[in-house]
């Protein structure tokens, strides 16, 4: 059996698949809540909305918690204590390729050089099942080359009509198929053809495009461009774009005493480069005092490369959830000198 063997999961077997997957740990999947979708713990397949485009908050929340205790301390004992890492396996079902690619980028920050213990413990305990999606008018992952996930998941289910074509992304995924052989059939030539066809149809549905070639250099020569005045003026500096971005990972660290004034917690929380104090240093100097500098910093950070991947996966969240209607692709197009009608 080859590692890249393709399998078929009949849709009628999805409930069975869900039940077996549940044995690995609590399943978290996209659930429709009012007008948005959110990754939530689910008990049954009926709760899941696999037909979603994007959740508001990306699945990064399972690996870098919006707020988490990184140490507890005791002033009487003069000691810091690491929290106990006894978390259950995190099973994510229904993650789209853009978010998987974003988590792969986060892994470069948190798991290379000096690995972050908190991220690492959760990630190695995770079980990620990807699912295919249909782009809407805000999706541009085709441009960012993140419309397809090659790694960073256990299994990836591609909807090809009556069945799912299943790709294996890791040894854990390989083992899952081996252990549950009766649930899967080997994909035949027709299935593969059908997969290729639906993939192409999906790619053809993208309406939004952003030229990525040379974007880094365009950003560099646009440092003093008017585009930052224009959007800096528009931007409210609220930081929503950072919270919904699957790749944003800035964090703040704060110490809190408990009421006994001896014990307490060192807490790390999501932070935002759009907030005024992000670039503020002691003595009052602010390296990014206005929204102009801050929005420029954000777009340059997004457009920069980490090895061969840029820090934006084209999920469209920052555009969809911006209260000032700042459109990411539109800004980048202006950076490129493309006129916007």
């Amino acid at each position: 059996m080859e590692g890249n063997q393709l399998w078929i999961l009949e849709k009628e077997n999805f409930n069975e698949f869900f039940n077996i997957l549940k044995l690995k740990g609590n399943i978290n999947a996209p659930v429709k809540q009012g007008t948005i979708n959110a990754f939530k713990k689910v008990e049954s397949p009926e709760e899941i909305n696999l037909d979603y485009t994007r959740t508001m908050i990306p699945p990064k929340k399972y690996f870098i918690h919006p707020e988490e205790v990184i140490f507890t301390f005791d002033k009487k004992e003069e000691k810091y204590f690491e929290p106990v890492f006894a978390e259950d396996t995190i099973v994510l079902l229904g993650v789209h390729a853009c978010d998987i690619n974003a988590m792969n980028l986060l892994a470069k920050v948190f798991m290379e050089e000096l690995p972050d213990k908190y991220y690492l413990e959760r990630r190695k305990n995770s079980y990620i099942i990807g699912t295919s999606c249909t782009p809407d008018e805000y999706c541009f992952c085709k441009s960012t080359n993140t419309a397809f996930a090659n790694e960073g998941f256990e299994l990836f289910l591609h909807d090809i009509g009556q069945k799912y074509l299943v790709r294996i992304g890791s040894i854990k995924g390989h083992r899952f198929i081996l252990e549950n052989q009766d649930l899967f059939d080997e994909a035949n030539k027709n299935d593969i053809l059908q997969f290729k066809k639906t993939e192409q149809e999906r790619l053809d549905q993208f309406t939004l495009e952003l030229e990525m070639n040379g974007l880094q250099n365009m950003l560099d020569i646009s440092f003093d461009d008017e585009v930052w005045d224009e959007y800096g003026e528009k931007c409210l500096g609220c930081g929503s774009c950072n919270l919904v971005c699957p790749r944003c990972r800035c964090y703040d660290v704060q110490d809190y005493f408990n009421l006994d004034l001896s014990t307490g917690n060192r807490v790390r929380k999501w932070y935002s480069c759009m907030l005024k104090d992000h670039g503020l240093v002691a003595g009052g100097h602010n390296f990014r005092p206005t929204t102009r500098e801050r929005i420029r910093n954000r777009f340059n950070c997004k457009g920069s490369l980490r090895e061969d991947m840029q820090n934006c996966v084209g999920c469209g969240r920052c555009t969809v959830y911006c209260p000032a209607d700042i459109n990411y692709v539109e800004v980048m197009k202006k950076v490129r000198g493309v006129s916007i009608e």
């Binding site: 140490f71 002033k75 810091y80 990972r249 660290v253 110490d255 932070y271 950070c301 920069s304």
Partner: protein, 295 residues
Amino acid sequence: MSKVNPLEPIKARIVKNHKMTDIENLITIKFQDLAYSENFSYLPGQFVKLGVMGVGEVPISICTAYDKFNDGLELCIRNTGRVTNAIHNLKVGNILWARGPYGNGFPMDQLEGKDLLLVAGGLGIAPIRGVIQYALNNREKFGEISILYGIRCYDLMLFKDDILDWFRNGDETGIKLYLSYEDEEDEMCYDLECERDDRCTQGLVTKLFSMLDTPSQNTVAVLGGPPIMYKFTVMELEKLGFDPESVYMTLERRMKCGVGQCGLCIVGTGKSIKYVCKDGPVFSLWEAMNTKGMI
């Protein structure tokens, strides 16, 4: 995979707390864990994250050369925020928490064999002092050492003993220290100016360049100071024909982690994103010229 948690604070004890000015103390700490202490080594220009339990952590540059580490780690701390205020309230024997060292530090091996021109403004002398100590401890490896130090007034002069010693007796060790002061009314500084009017003047640190003999082709400039100082100092250095690769500077940014995760110290454009904490805080002028927004 490493089991070490890079964010874990290490216990240290304050062995000396010397008040240097109204707002700056020189605090000397020693790590409690001897094994940790033995493995701790650093270059001038590197920094530590220094913390007070329940208050928080701040990045502080180390202001001694590693040769002096056995006497403890010296940190010059200005009382300017919540954490530094808490540190100022501590006494000898109290516990402080530190982790590091972080950052690249000055490339001392590349500085060897060169004449050094060190330019510092205010608190910027702290990381530069390690360079001076390093050069003095390895005196034969360095050529002429010139220091330009700009202060606001005599009362805010840091490392007074060192500075005045280099000012008065520097010729014996081959150090020329030039001093500038901003406060026109400052009598103590005026006295120093009367003492050596070829080495001391009222004005900004850039004014001292006119007192310098033309630096040799073999000179490397090292800068430490507030952002505004870099802009004007670099203009002077360019006039003197300094190559962008023979000018080094150390930068300040807000930092929470020190290890390239928290994202607060990011500078640059899409082409040149840098983390000041791990790619710096020491950068050459050439790097600064290619990283917009750095200075």
